[in-house]
Amino acid sequence: MLTIKNLHAAVDGKEILKGLELEVPAGEVHAVMGPNGSGKSTLAHVLAGRPGYTITSGAVHFKGRDLLALAPEERAREGLFLGFQYPVEIPGVNNVYLLKAAVNAARKHHGLPEVDAFEFLTLVREKMRLMRMDESMLSRGVNEGFSGGEKKRNEILQMLVLEPALAVLDETDSGLDIDALKVVAHGVNTLRAANRSMVLVTHYQRLLEYIVPDRVHVLIKGRIVRSGDRTLALELEQRGYDWLMDEAA
């Protein structure tokens, strides 16, 4: 599904990703953990195509295609979804409009007709119930005035509606209370499928109790320095990152 080889990326002339390697096969859920400032969000942004990053070398393949050659909107339509660490508020752009526009953009890309407005609303309402979101949020501006946790739920709602092939969730668990964490995890779990992959960026092993990952990777100073199964997350929780710092140097 996703293959990253020797990825080097810089922002404002400063190299952040320094030879990152990552392989996420179809159907798997991988967790990426690492200290603050290690480059996790940078990786997520580079994958989604955010402007401002310079790729100095390396390659990224998504479903066998050269991901870096695609514009951000093309990546999305091809099935890449980024759940933002800090979802932006867009007052005046209605939540439903955005959802519908996003779904239709992908459908058009795949030669499908637009969604039926009624069926679409029914689907969105169903997903909202799953996310325990109040329906009134639909008619509000995108994330406008949403609490931190509501914004994260809204990201997952979008993911559930878009049904991406690859979801990169950047600290979707941060700022969630226990109940919300369960709701979000449940939402993510309903989407697990043989033809879908997920990359969860997280600081906490707690999320991984609810969403059990196939692999855990440690990102330090722009590189994956260690990979393992879910027990690696437990080990990190106990020992922190210091013991891995040497490997990053």
Binding site: F84, P87, G92, V93, Y97, V142
Partner: protein, 427 residues
């Protein structure tokens, strides 16, 4: 003052004066208006409050009223519950029966009373009302009886100046007696290719406790010059909600002078301007607080794309006899393109204590983070940009309380943006 332009103005007036209807404005009054205008001179960009207007269009304009022979163009869908009046080149052509409590008169009609209503004010910025007074070929006077809660009136002005370019002078008086209520939708449309001049004058009189909701949509032709002068007087506890959208014309300038003369009078001025290509949208609004506990709530949202210029100059004065005044100004501009220009000027003059006044003005570009968020959801860059521009105008558009009208205005604005088709399906 005498310039080649003023000489031409006099000549044009001399050639048509005998044909101008005396019912609408007496010949002597026209002559007097012309003299006053010539003494003041036409507006010039060296004047503080005209510097952002495109006044070059006045030089090529023909002032002579168009013959109003053009066929009726296609009109927007009627609004349900509204009585529609259509003016072609400012002359009343089609009308519905007036709603109960409301009298609508064309002063051009036989038997119409002579009148001495004054349009414009002493403020020199309103002096284009004198040009209207010189040439006006018709005037609509709309009166609402005391206490009447009248359904809506729709005034559609079409500048249809056929083959020959010419001017039109819409002229409207809106007078609400005490406690009366009315909603007026005023639209200005124009033939796409006419290089016409539209110079309208509107006079609003609100008696104590009267409430007027006034929507104005300027959607003039792409090559038109559109000038407009509106004065309003608000008596005690009167309420005037004015919402103006400027989308059309090559050069648009609107001047508003509102006087809050009675205690507790309230003005809400919401304006949006969308400038594309080479357009100029300029608005000057003066709100004078002359009585205690008066209120002005002013919101402006303007977008300039391409080489367009969008300007809003909002001045609020609080006189010494207006304690307890509350005024708020929120002006925002959005720049899209290196050659676009947005000029916002909030001005506040306070001569009394115990007032609450706040104002803010910001101009900036489309937010990169918002843009990327939309792209990351698969939206095409043009759609994302339009959506954000759209959202920016929402602060004003969302105040349109009539769903049909709101939808029409939304579609008109979208139509104004290029690559519009993609956005339409979202709404």
């Amino acid at each position: 003052m005498s310039t080649p332009l003023l000489t031409r103005l006099r000549d044009e007036f001399g050639a048509v004066r005998a044909a101008l209807p005396a019912n609408v404005i007496a010949a002597a009054a026209r002559q007097e208006a012309l003299e006053r205008l010539c003494a003041l001179g036409l507006p010039a960009t060296r004047e503080e409050n005209w510097r952002y207007a495109n006044l070059r269009v006045l030089e090529r304009a023909r002032f002579t009223p168009a013959a109003a022979e053009a066929a009726m163009p296609a009109l927007p869908e009627p609004l349900s519950g509204f009585a529609r009046y259509v003016f072609v080149d400012a002359e009343l052509r089609a009308q519905a029966p007036a709603p109960p409590g409301v009298t609508v008169r064309s002063l051009r009609a036989p038997g119409a009373p002579t009148n001495g209503w004054r349009f414009g004010s002493d403020l020199p910025e309103t002096r284009l009302a004198l040009l209207n007074e010189t040439f006006a070929t018709d005037a609509a006077s709309i009166e609402v009886r005391a206490g009447a809660d009248a359904p809506g009136i729709e005034l559609v002005f079409v500048a249809a100046t056929g083959a020959q370019n010419g001017a039109s002078y819409p002229r409207v008086r809106l007078a609400l007696a005490s406690g009366a209520r009315l909603t007026v939708v005023e639209r200005h449309l124009g033939a796409a290719d006419a290089q016409s001049l539209v110079n309208s004058a509107v006079r609003v009189e609100l008696a104590p406790n009267a409430q007027l909701t006034h929507y104005r949509l300027q959607h003039g032709g792409a090559r038109a010059a559109w000038f407009d002068t509106l004065t309003a007087e608000l008596a005690e506890a009167a309420r005037y909600d004015l919402l103006a959208v400027s989308a059309g014309a090559l050069a648009a300038r609107s001047t508003v002078h509102a006087r809050l003369l009675g205690a507790g009078a309230e003005l809400t001025l919401s304006a949006a301007a969308l400038g594309e290509g080479q357009q100029t949208h300029d608005m000057y609004a003066l709100s004078e607080h002359r009585a205690p506990r008066t209120r002005t709530l002013e919101t402006f949202r303007g977008i300039a794309s391409g080489r367009a210029r969008v300007a809003f100059n909002g001045k609020i004065t609080v006189g010494e006899n207006a304690p307890g005044t509350d005024s708020r100004q929120s002006l925002r501009g959005l720049l899209d393109g290196a050659e676009a220009e947005v000029d916002l000027r909030p001005q506040l003059e306070i001569y009394t204590d115990e007032v609450r006044c706040s104002h803010g003005a910001t101009a900036g570009k489309l937010d990169e983070n918002m843009l990327f968020y939309l792209l990351s959801r698969g939206l095409a860059p043009e759609v994302a940009q339009h959506l954000l521009k759209w959202a920016f105008l929402e602060d004003v558009i969302a105040r349109i309380a009539l769903p049909d009208l709101r939808r029409q205005i939304e579609l008109a604005l979208i139509g104004q943006m290029s690559e519009a088709a993609t956005l339409k399906e979202l709404l």
